[in-house]
Symmetry: C2
Subunit: 441 residues, 2 copies
Amino acid sequence: MPRRIVVIGGGAAGMSAASAARRADSTAEVTVWEQGPFPSYGVCGLPYYLGGVISDPESLIAYPAAEFRERRRIDLRLDSVITSVDLEAHLVVDSDGAEWGYDALVYAAGAQPIVPSIPGVDDPRVMTVRRLEDAIELRARLGTARRGVIVGAGYVGLEMAEALHACGLDVTVMDRLSRVMTTVDPDVAAIIQTETERHCTLLLDAELRALHSHDSHIDVEYDGGTIPTDVVVLAVGVSPSTGLVSDLAALPNGALIVDEQMRTSAEDVYAAGDCIAVHHRVLGEPAFVPLGPAANKTGRVAGTVAGGGEATFAGVVGTAVVKVFDLTVAHTGVTLEEARARGWRAEATQVTAKSRAKYYPGAEPIIVRLVHKPDGRVIGAQLVGRDGVAQRINVVAAALQVGMTVDDIAELDLAYAPPYSPVYDPLIQAAQAAVLARGRG
Amino acid sequence: MPRRIVVIGGGAAGMSAASAARRADSTAEVTVWEQGPFPSYGVCGLPYYLGGVISDPESLIAYPAAEFRERRRIDLRLDSVITSVDLEAHLVVDSDGAEWGYDALVYAAGAQPIVPSIPGVDDPRVMTVRRLEDAIELRARLGTARRGVIVGAGYVGLEMAEALHACGLDVTVMDRLSRVMTTVDPDVAAIIQTETERHCTLLLDAELRALHSHDSHIDVEYDGGTIPTDVVVLAVGVSPSTGLVSDLAALPNGALIVDEQMRTSAEDVYAAGDCIAVHHRVLGEPAFVPLGPAANKTGRVAGTVAGGGEATFAGVVGTAVVKVFDLTVAHTGVTLEEARARGWRAEATQVTAKSRAKYYPGAEPIIVRLVHKPDGRVIGAQLVGRDGVAQRINVVAAALQVGMTVDDIAELDLAYAPPYSPVYDPLIQAAQAAVLARGRG
């Protein structure tokens, strides 16, 4: 009798898991339950569809349903909801009350946007953008809107600000904190803030109180006043969608704890994607870092192991990159703030270098900030600039993977040609400065 | 009495050495002898001045002479030639016959273009481009030239081809080998060849025989025919300028052997830059790889140690990048050809991936070729494409530094956002393919 592998969630993690399970076990029955109408699309691409960079929303879909159903022989059920999971009995129950037994369950239900508990959030002009359906609806609204308010100045909020600005809206971004993007240190956040303010109104230390609906507009009430707007986008974070499996071991926010083979605390239950905590190699503990690459990788591992194969996930070091208008912001590891909040002794060295040879057209300043321990070990980096930032962070990501010191980075043999780099790459310059600072320190 | 530190050569290595010596010993007499009229300019920028990307040749000069003379208190002697070195007596002799004693000598005379021994190379319209003076002279000639022949299809030849093409010349590139760029494997060279042929005539397996001067033009005679041209650029490689110190231990081509502190085989004599062999960490032996970053770094180390300080150079892994028309070509480590020529068991895995999310504008194919040993250890990589190539090679450069395997690279936590990368970075895709190939192999 073929093994029954059930996957809850048809996003990147779920479809990776289902595909990997099929590769690992060619005879298993692999079933995916996805509550929405689309399988496996690029959530990270939604801001670019909204902003008009991409015209066809379906281009965000990695593979059509037929690819999964026919080529990979996966029973992909769209618009199909699982309402409960019985971990003891090894079965799931669908919205019609039917029971489906499993030999292995991969839980990949993702994460959902946090909606603040304030009056007025149920107005249809108040939106979150996590699903392709949301984006299609919001895109339609943007045709007539003149003004938009984004709540939340994290990376998603800033991507949404760029998208709405690209649609011609007057955009206000508000955040209850005194800064944007807490994934970078304040010095770097200040640069992002300046860039945001070139295009939007930025309200910091602004606590959202209520949303007041009118026929013609919405009034956004915060502790410093009221802003009229046509559309509100909530971007205050996401929480893992783990309500169906609340008995499983999890972080306080609900993110499921898994081992390196994506096993949860229940027998035959695996989890992957934005609903899990991943092993953070720099922190040395599980962390909730819901990003696309880990969703794909953990999905693949969960599906492989659920299908009887061998695979492990080594964890993350916390690498991410985001486009904020004309800036690229990239970071990996921990910030100085985070390190010190954990009681670690750490320092940061920050330099401004050129992205290319100073005489070559297109050379732009790059700010490189390295966070390191007293013994020189690098524990994080932040890069920001208009040119050559996105891939440079990956060198530090590789360095974090193996515990390199600032001396090690200063010794790297990085590529040089005038169109691409100064003769001392910005990363080398930062590392050299850190080596010198340690020598003096 | 202050120590006398003499530096021969005022290029990147020599001026780095002089500056580092000054930092290490604030009272030393630091003297630099440079035979040309300009200190420390970016040789790698010459093609971009020639091609008109950069209009002012002086912008290639890293620092004006006054910076070295006044701020750094270096006795910088331009247009000044040392004609002999007496290693026993610790002195150098200038072109006027005057003797200058040294306590420490840093030899940084660089490398000179190889000029083939064929008839006709002394025509002033036949040039090499290694010095800023050469480039200024050639640039003047390009004003009236309609046709150009480049001899040599290595990276310098291809850069020169792009430069002459940018000036509106009909360009022919010829090479005696059957391919361009031997620093990459044939599969990758074929892509570069196609790009070159979009803009130039490429003659391979073409052995230069003679140059015949006429008032109106030059006839370039090779084993397959004759090409009339207005200007000829020789780009068949460089050789270390080590004639003054031929008693020092060296590779067969004359490149000086140094230790990790840049000491040569003679007492109190250090060497740096394009005249030395650097430690190649992948090959595990000294290699002649005359590139800018190592010139700067070895100059700094030589000067620091000559000045009584402590510094070491860890070597290179063979990283380089070059722009060939609209392509970027980057490589690090060794090619499969080189590995096998050394009798190493090695394989290559090559994938074509997208530089960005497939739906994001500007996504271009990137070819990633990983060269690895049977145990999975990566020993080289080649990347080629129109977008996102130059910095990606640096991740592999870091991987080579620590001996990562293809599995390690597949596990790297690389940055993802649609404008910059697919969710599985091209490097990860290549590493995953290599892991799978090993599993099957």
